[in-house]
């Protein structure tokens, strides 16, 4: 995208205005991905915060071969993986444990705000195993193709398609049982 190329160019030459534009353009997208993947809003905010801070520090060394959006998305996904590996979030919860993550922050300190419908979807997503959740979220919200996700997860496209199918099936049964309540 030409606008992004120009923004990167200006950012590299020191424009803080370009940095602000990049932040405004992509923060919602990245926060949404992180929250959908992690369910824990606090941890998701930390991940996205760290990505932008590192980006802001990287003007001199930054080199993006593909798109800026994909680059930032990859940074967030890697941050998510680190959190999951470090067990700062649980990769999967059972139904009885799913629910809104109680925030230790008060409303004024929150960065990302979820409405009720989104909370319900997030509660459903967290009950899906992480590998399946990641495929669903990256495909539906990240805009990634299956072959791109396959490369990310280092598995075949067929495996990704299966994970997507199983993830949606699981979500369907969770959401149906929500409706029946």
């Amino acid at each position: 995208m030409l606008e992004d190329k120009l923004l990167i160019l200006r950012f590299k030459y020191g424009s803080s205005e370009a940095l602000r534009r990049i932040y405004e353009k992509y923060r919602l997208y990245l926060l949404k991905l992180a929250v959908a993947l992690l369910h824990d809003v606090n941890v998701a905010e930390d991940v996205v915060h760290d990505v932008f801070i590192r980006f802001a520090q990287s003007a001199e060394t930054l080199k993006i071969n593909g798109s800026l959006k994909a680059y930032l998305r990859t940074c967030v996904v890697n941050g998510v993986h680190n959190k999951v590996r470090a067990e700062q979030v649980r990769s999967y919860v059972e139904l009885s444990e799913a629910g809104p993550i109680a925030s230790e922050q008060n409303e004024a300190d929150k960065w990302a705000i979820l409405k009720e419908e989104s909370m319900m979807i997030s509660n459903a997503l967290v009950q899906v195993p992480f590998e399946q959740r990641e495929v669903v979220v990256l495909h539906l919200h990240g805009g990634m193709k299956f072959r791109e996700i396959a490369k990310l997860q280092a598995v075949s496209v067929k495996t990704i398609q299966s994970r997507y199918r199983y993830g949606l099936d699981k979500l369907r049964s969770i959401l149906n049982s929500e409706v029946e309540k």
Binding site: G14, I121, V136
Partner: protein, 387 residues
């Protein structure tokens, strides 16, 4: 049970909002971090990008080249093409070529002096220059409007206070006028192809220069092909745009690309150069298809046969390259890891020994390229000589 599509729709409804005050805090924090990183890099008490960029002739020229290219992209989206006066056009060509030629000349002298730092620095600027050309040409093909709002809303020129905005717009409009007069997308595709190759070569030279004397030899390997493409760029019809690409011109390009591939293969021992060869041969393949389309109605029987043979030769070359790539990736690494061969050995010889009796791999490629070039010569006869 809800169908799959309904579930997908529901999941897509997941959304978030941001707290505006927290958002602003984040912006402020990012500005501080950004400013601090710039300050610690240069040791200045305030950000003065103009001064930083203009501290050397080299970076100044880089800034000029980059500004010109990116402004051209923006102005194009304004739909500001006009029939530029020849004087204004000459100025913009001169300005672009001046920056480009300066870097090019400095790069060549750095190579002669074996000055790795200087070569790397100039290659860096050239890489950005060609990236700009590439972007301009791609945008010309796509005709997107994405930069329009951005350039209208914000001043792009703040860091570069030495250059006046209206002057650039005037120069840029004439350059865009030239681009707009090109009726034949084949020209634009050629510019894209050449600019991508040039960008890659410049990157390779830059990276080579960062490491050591040994790696610098790879920069020398890149140079002949780099020079060949530079010569093509300099011969663009700057004064006579709008030419339709004739079959003869396409054949010239096929020859150029095959020659580039040939030079690459001849120096195969320096480093794996499959991507460069592949790009050159694929471009030749594309030009062969264009020749086919453009001459179909008027070809003689003999020309049809020559075109068919040329197509087959080029397709075979592409298959060889893919074969080489697959072999290299799947097999060669294993072979080397098994310590049957040492890392510095020519991988084409390794492939030859593993895959049978075809002579050395490089010679096999070159033979096929020579056959394709010979077919090009034969095809020249009978086409109009409009070179």
């Amino acid at each position: 049970m809800r169908p799959r599509e309904n579930i997908e729709k529901i999941i897509k409804k997941f959304n978030i909002d941001v707290n505006p005050s927290k958002d602003q805090e984040m912006v402020d924090e990012l500005r501080k971090v950004h400013a601090k990183s710039r300050q610690s890099e240069y040791g200045t008490s305030k950000i003065d990008i103009g001064r930083i960029i203009m501290k050397s002739k080299t970076t100044k020229l880089a800034a000029v080249a980059v500004i010109i290219i990116t402004v051209m992209i923006g102005i194009n989206q304004f739909g500001g093409s006009i029939d530029g006066a020849s004087v204004a056009w000459a100025e913009i060509v001169q300005r672009v070529e001046q920056s480009y030629n300066n870097y090019y000349a400095e790069l060549l002298s750095a190579m002669e002096e074996k000055d790795v730092q200087k070569a790397s620095s100039n290659a860096d600027a050239l890489s950005e220059f060609w990236q700009g050309i590439n972007t301009l040409a791609e945008e010309r093909l796509e005709s997107t409007q994405e930069s329009l709002s951005m350039l209208r809303h914000e001043s792009f020129y703040d860091p570069f206070q030495e250059f006046e905005q209206h002057t650039f717009i005037e120069y840029a409009e004439n350059f865009i006028a030239w681009m707009d007069r090109i009726e034949d997308d084949a020209w634009i595709n050629e510019i894209i192809h050449v600019s991508r190759q040039m960008e890659e070569y410049a990157e390779e030279i830059r990276e080579s220069g960062r490491h050591s004397e040994l790696d610098f030899s790879y920069a020398e390997h890149c140079l002949p092909a780099f020079v060949a493409y530079c010569e093509w760029f300099e011969q663009l019809p700057w004064n006579g745009p709008g030419q339709v690409m004739t079959p003869t011109m396409l054949l010239t390009r096929i020859e150029r690309d095959l020659e580039i591939a040939r030079r690459e293969i001849e120096t195969l021992e320096t480093r794996g150069v499959i991507p460069f060869i592949k790009r050159s041969v694929q471009q030749a393949q594309k030009n062969v298809m264009d020749v086919d389309i453009r001459t179909a109605a008027s070809r003689t029987k003999e020309q049809r046969e020559l075109c068919r043979q040329l197509t087959r030769r080029i397709d075979e070359l592409c298959a060889l390259i893919i074969y080489g790539e697959i072999s290299r990736q799947d097999f060669l690494e294993q072979v080397i890891k098994q310590k049957k061969y040492r890392d510095y050995e020519r991988f084409d010889q390794v492939l030859t020994e593993e895959f049978g009796n075809k002579g050395t791999f490089a010679d096999y490629y070159i033979k096929r390229i020579d056959q394709a070039l010979s077919l090009c010569d034969q095809l020249y006869e009978g086409f109009e000589h409009t070179r």
